[in-house]
Amino acid sequence: MVTQVAEQEQVVYERPRSLVDVPTHYCPGCTHGTAHRIIAEIIDELGIREQTILVASVGCSVFAYNYFDVDACEAAHGRAPAMATGVKRVSPDKFVFTYQGDGDLASIGAGEVIHVAARGEKITTIFINNAIYGMTGGQMAPTSLIGQKTTSSPFGRDSDLAGYPMQMAELLSVLPGTAYSVRRSLHDARHVIQAKKAIRIAFKAQLLGLGYSIVELLSSCPINWGMTPEESLKWVKEAMIPVYPLGDYKVADELKALTKKGRR
């Protein structure tokens, strides 16, 4: 369906250079893909592709290292922050980021992420909170909502037995080594744009050597939620945001300026 391109036309949106030109394995409508795209857009924009090292994690994003056109490795489940610490400590001039799901970061990896924040490791984490374990087929995550039915909480999450949703952006903001900790959502265009802004600032936090930065992104899992992509985004907006308020929980003074004046 290629059509003539008129002279005066200009491209106002296209796939970012830092995304490899292959189809992803993500389910239709899964916003993991959206997160990938905006991260790649920022890598392009900041011109750091050739100095970036991605530490992928274990979850549906396990193949992220195939999708980003940057040097990449694959950590053990939950250990991406530790692995990224190893990478960064011996390569301080590189830009190092982890991409982790909520099972990976909040459950098995809670200790490691707490400690990179406590140490103020100069790395960045993009944290995909979809309130469930996607890869393994929809079990309860520490981020699942009270009452949420999953394949391992068939009667709905009962706080008496399974505890309460973990608000990681808030928790990590308490630690002194954290330079930037915010929560955004991917449920519509406006929020995607805001998420992208936050990612830019988080990346800059590392480039400025300010410490640990993390952006929590509320994301969808249509398949395991048993919803259509459209219903999923509605659920993010109406069910998740009330439990996971969007906002800035820690912003180092050096970054305040950036958050203010718009796009750059």
Binding site: D69, V70, C73, A76, T85, E112
Partner: protein, 369 residues
């Protein structure tokens, strides 16, 4: 370099530094801690990377991270910590990056105690993690050897892009002996081309242990097994003493081998036909070499500071035609030379009246005492 009186843990740490170790990640645990402590001072002085990790799980994954960038990285721990690193070891093996691990073994199982032990033999030689792989395992029996093997460990790790263990027990970690340190090597000036250094004017590099398709993963495993087979062919190391004419051959490694050596010397002086075979690489195990020696001997005595773990490899190597006895101490007890001598003399006697022999042989791997 002149000889110095050096503590095992510190000698190993300093040797690693001189071998060009760029990054150390570890977590305190007795009887290994002085190694980490020495690193905490020297690595910082040398402006290299030292980090006390929050746990052994984190430490091994930090080493994994440093290793994928091609940096010479290492960690050290003791038995319980080594158990916690198993998943990490398996990932390192699965992605074929070089890394060095020091295990200063203590008494187990569980928290056990902190006394010298060789109870991790199976864990490091047979299964340092899930899946099919073996790290190279080096076992020094004195401080000088610990130093030399530490340097070798880094070279082998890099040569084969593999995990290399150096295992010693708490006694070697804690004792002081005169030894000579190697000269300081210059750090490597650039990272290997497979390493993650940023996709700058080249294709991106990917390092992972995932092969989703059964075919791909099998292909990888076959490649890995070929590498291991090569190592088995050319990297076997061992030491022999008084083997000529030895009717009874004592097989031991590490501190147990030192003890056996004292006993052997004394017995030889007393004119008894006893010899010592000491594996230096526990994996690959010097199977054929031992088998050769066994052909000429009448009996074997395996001495270990565990319930008889290497014993199985010795049995497999020498076969059923020659009796294999076992003397094992556990829980931090170190066998004493006279103990070994006593047992050896008894065995020599029995060899003269073989009929009693079977009675005397210890069961499969369980200490006879």
């Amino acid at each position: 370099m002149p000889k110095q009186l050096l503590k095992g843990n510190i000698a190993i740490a300093e040797a690693a530094i001189r071998a060009g170790c760029e990054a150390y990640f570890g977590y305190p645990i007795t009887p290994q801690t002085e190694l980490l402590e020495h690193m905490s001072r020297r690595m910082i002085e040398l402006d290299r990377v030292f980090l006390q990790a929050e746990s052994e799980v984190a430490a091994v994954n930090m080493v994994y991270g440093a290793a994928v960038t091609g940096a010479r990285a290492m960690t050290s721990s003791s038995s319980p910590g080594i158990s916690l690193m198993q998943e990490g070891f398996s990932y390192i093996a699965g992605s074929e990056v070089p890394a060095v691990v020091v295990d200063i073994m203590r008494g187990g199982p569980g928290l056990g105690n902190i006394q010298p032990s060789q109870g991790d033999y199976n864990q490091v030689t047979k299964s340092a993690g899930h899946g099919d792989f073996h790290p190279i395992v080096l076992a020094p029996s004195n401080i000088q050897e610990a130093i030399d093997l530490t340097v070798l460990a880094f070279d082998l790790a890099e040569k084969y892009r593999t995990l290399v263990f150096m295992v010693a027990d708490g006694a070697i970690g804690q004792m002081m002996e005169p030894a000579e340190l190697p000269p300081m090597r210059p750090l490597q000036d650039r990272r290997p081309e497979w390493a993650l250094t940023g996709a700058h004017s080249r294709e991106k590099n990917k390092i992972s242990s995932i092969y989703m398709g059964a075919e791909e993963l099998e292909a990888f495993n076959l490649k890995l097994q070929e590498k291991l087979a090569l190592i088995e062919r050319i990297e076997i190391r061992y030491d022999e003493q008084y083997i000529d004419g030895a009717e009874l051959v004592i097989v031991a490694f590490g501190t147990a081998a030192r003890v056996a050596q004292s006993a052997t010397m004394l017995m030889r002086e007393a004119g008894l036909p006893v010899g010592l075979f000491r594996p230096i690489t526990l994996w690959p195990f010097p199977e054929r070499q031992l088998a050769q020696i066994a052909k000429k001997a009448k009996g074997i005595l395996v001495v270990e500071m565990n319930a008889g773990q290497m014993l199985h490899d010795v049995r497999a190597a020498v076969g059923p035609d020659i009796p294999v006895a076992f003397l094992g101490r556990m829980g931090g007890s170190i066998p004493m030379p006279d103990e070994v001598e006593e047992r050896a003399r008894a065995l020599l006697a029995q060899m003269r009246e073989p009929e009693n022999y079977l009675l005397q042989e210890s069961g499969n791997g369980h200490p006879s005492r």
